[in-house]
C-alpha cells in the first residue's frame, strides 16, 4: 500500500514516466481485495459490519481503478468533476429509490396485508 502511494507521488508531474510497475501493483492489490471480499462473506461476524466492510472494500477498488487505471489522478480535475456529477447523482437516485420502496406504505400486497388495527372494531351503526 505504502509503496504504491510512494510510487504515485514520485510519479506526479512526470507524465512520461513508465507506469508499468504501478499498474501491476494496483492489479495485485485489487486481486487481493477481491479475495478478501470473497472470504469475508463466509465469516461469522455481525452482518451489518460485514455489509459495511464489503461496501468499503468495493469503494476502495472502485477508486483505485478510476484514479489510477483511468488516470483521473494525473488528469485535469475537471474530468473527475464531470464523472462524479453522474456518479453522485446515480448513487443518490439509487439511494432515494431504495428508501422510497422501504417505507411501510410501499409494502407490496404479497407481503401480509397491512391491515389497519381499527378494522376489526369498526361495525355498522
Amino acid at each position: 500500500m505504502t509503496s504504491i502511494a510512494h510510487a504515485a507521488t514520485a510519479d506526479h508531474g512526470k507524465h512520461q514516466d513508465n507506469k508499468f510497475e504501478i499498474y501491476v501493483q494496483i492489479a495485485m492489490l485489487l486481486a487481493v481485495i477481491t479475495g478478501v471480499e470473497i472470504i469475508m462473506v463466509y465469516l461469522p461476524f455481525m452482518k451489518a459490519l460485514l455489509i459495511g466492510g464489503l461496501v468499503v472494500l468495493s469503494v476502495v477498488k472502485f477508486m483505485f481503478v478510476i484514479f489510477y487505471f483511468m488516470h483521473l489522478r494525473w488528469d485535469k480535475p475537471f474530468c473527475t468533476i464531470l464523472f462524479f456529477i453522474g456518479l453522485v447523482l446515480a448513487i443518490g437516485t439509487v439511494w432515494a429509490l431504495l428508501q422510497l420502496f422501504s417505507v411501510e406504505d410501499g409494502r407490496p400486497l404479497t407481503a401480509p396485508p397491512p391491515e389497519p388495527p381499527h378494522s376489526a372494531t369498526a361495525k355498522a351503526g
Binding site: 407490496p108 389497519p116 378494522s119
Partner: protein
C-alpha cells in the same frame, strides 16, 4: 389505417358537431357564466367532507399567495414594459442606455421574499399531508372500513365488517354506500392495471396500483349522492369508468345493509311488486340549482339522493312471467358465468355482482341511468357503450375467433331487462 377512417369521420361529424353546439350559443350569458361556475357534481371547490375541505383550503392558500405575487410581479413587469418602451425610431437609436449588470442586494432580498412566500404555503401543506393521510387518531375507533377493487372498467366494493354467512363480506358494485358523518377508510385494490379512486366532493384521489396496499380516508358531512370517476388512464374505456358514492344517515345505512345482505328478490305472480325492502327517511323537497346543465339522465323533479332512495323500492307493475323468462335467459345466455346473483343461479366473478342491481341508480359503472331503456341498450350493445369491455369481448363474442357466442333477440332483451330491473 387510422388516417382514412379519421378523415371520413371528421367530414361526417363536422356538421353534427356544429349542430350539437348551436343550442349552447342560444343560452347566451348563462352559458358563458358557466365557465367560472365551480359547483358541478365533481367540484373540488364546493365540497362535502372534511378531507376535501382541507385540500380545498390548502388550494386557496396556494392560490392567494401566488395571486398576490402575480399581481406584484406583473405590475412591475407591466410598468417596466410601458415606461421603458421606445416611443419612436429616434428613441430606438438613441445612445444605448447604461449597461448595468445587476445589484446583489436586490437579488438577495427577492430571493428571501420568495422563500418567505413558499414558507407560507409549506406550513399548511405539511399539516394537510398528515391530516389527509390517515383517519385522525381520535376518530379511528369510529372509522368504517370498505375495500374498493378496480377492474377494467368498473369498481367492486366490499364491506369486510359485514360478513354474510357462507359467502364472505357483503359485496356490491359501482355504487358505494357509506355512513354519513363517519370517517370511512377505504382499502384500494386493483386486479389489472392502475386505476384511481376519486370522489372529488369527498376527497382527493389515491391510485389503485397492482401489488400495492394503498388506502384512503374520506368522510361525508351529511347524507348525499356523489359522483366519482376513475382518474388514472386505464385503457380504452377509462373515460367511462365512473361510480357513485351514496352517504346515508345511521338508520338509513343500517336499513340498506340489511336489504343488501338479503338474497336476490324472487318475483312470483302472487308476490309481484310488494313492499320496498328497506324504509328510508322521508324524501325531501329538492330545488335544482344547476341551470344550464343539460341533464340527460337525472330526474329533474328529484334530488339525486331521493332518486336513489326511490330506486330501492320494487317497480309497481312487475310482470312475473317476463321476469321468470329473463331469469331463464340469464342462465341460457351464459350471463351467470360472469355475474353473481346471490340466491339465484349466477356465481361468476368476472363482472359486477348483480344481486341488487335493480336498486342502483346507474349501470355500467356509473355511466348509464338505470332504466329499462338504458339497460336494454347496455345488454344489446355493451361494446358500443364501453369499447373493449369484457362483457362483450369474451362474453358476447369469442376473443380469438371474433364470432358471437350467442344472439339476443329483442324479446330476449326485454325479458332480461325485466329480470335485472326486478333485482332490487
Amino acid at each position: 389505417m387510422y388516417l382514412p377512417s379519421l378523415l371520413r369521420s371528421l367530414g361526417r361529424m363536422g356538421i353534427r358537431v356544429l349542430a350539437l353546439a348551436s343550442p349552447l350559443f342560444l343560452t347566451g350569458c348563462d352559458f358563458f357564466n358557466a365557465i367560472w361556475r365551480m359547483d358541478g357534481h365533481q367540484s373540488t371547490i364546493v365540497v362535502a367532507g372534511p378531507v376535501a375541505r382541507a385540500q380545498r383550503d390548502l388550494f386557496y392558500v396556494t392560490c392567494w399567495v401566488t395571486l398576490v405575487i402575480f399581481i406584484i410581479v406583473g405590475a412591475v413587469l407591466a410598468y417596466a414594459t410601458i415606461k421603458f418602451k421606445a416611443r419612436n425610431a429616434a428613441d430606438e437609436h438613441a445612445e444605448p442606455p447604461e449597461q448595468g449588470h445587476g445589484n446583489p442586494l436586490v437579488e438577495i432580498s427577492l430571493i428571501a421574499a420568495s422563500v418567505f412566500a413558499l414558507v407560507i404555503i409549506a406550513i399548511p401543506t405539511l399539516k394537510a399531508i398528515w391530516y389527509t393521510y390517515d383517519v385522525p387518531e381520535a376518530e379511528k375507533a369510529n372509522a368504517y372500513e370498505v375495500t374498493a377493487t378496480a377492474y377494467q372498467w368498473w369498481f367492486k366494493f366490499e364491506y369486510p365488517g359485514e360478513p354474510i354467512e357462507n359467502v364472505g363480506p357483503l359485496s356490491t358494485s359501482n355504487e358505494l354506500v357509506i355512513p354519513a358523518g363517519r370517517p370511512v377508510h377505504i382499502n384500494l385494490r386493483t386486479v389489472d392495471v392502475i386505476h384511481s379512486f376519486w370522489v372529488p366532493k369527498l376527497a382527493g384521489k389515491v391510485d389503485m396500483i397492482p401489488n400495492r396496499g394503498n388506502r384512503l380516508w374520506l368522510q361525508a358531512d351529511a347524507p348525499g349522492y356523489f359522483w366519482g370517476q376513475c382518474a388514472e388512464y386505464c385503457g380504452d374505456s377509462h373515460a367511462v369508468m365512473r361510480f357513485r358514492v351514496i352517504a346515508l344517515g345511521k338508520d338509513d345505512f343500517n336499513a340498506w345493509l340489511a336489504a343488501q345482505k338479503a338474497t336476490a328478490r324472487t318475483v312470483t305472480a302472487t308476490a309481484a311488486a310488494g313492499q320496498p325492502r328497506a324504509q328510508f327517511a322521508a324524501l325531501k323537497e329538492w330545488k335544482r340549482n344547476e341551470p344550464g346543465y343539460t341533464d340527460k339522465y337525472d330526474r329533474p323533479d328529484l334530488s339525486p339522493l331521493d332518486n336513489w332512495k326511490q330506486m330501492q323500492a320494487p317497480n309497481p307493475n312487475e310482470d312475473a312471467a317476463l321476469i321468470a323468462q329473463g331469469r331463464k335467459l340469464f342462465q341460457e345466455k351464459t350471463c351467470i358465468g360472469c355475474h353473481t346473483i346471490r340466491g339465484h343461479e349466477g356465481v361468476g366473478i368476472t363482472g359486477p355482482n348483480l344481486t341488487h342491481v335493480g336498486a342502483r341508480t346507474t349501470i355500467a359503472a356509473g355511466l348509464l341511468e338505470n332504466n329499462p331503456e338504458q339497460l336494454a341498450r347496455w345488454i344489446r350493445h355493451p361494446d358500443q357503450v364501453k369499447p373493449g369491455n369484457k362483457m362483450y369481448n369474451g362474453g358476447y363474442i369469442d376473443v380469438k375467433t371474433r364470432k358471437p357466442n350467442f344472439t339476443l333477440t329483442d324479446a330476449d332483451v326485454t325479458a332480461l331487462v325485466a329480470y335485472i330491473s326486478s333485482l332490487k
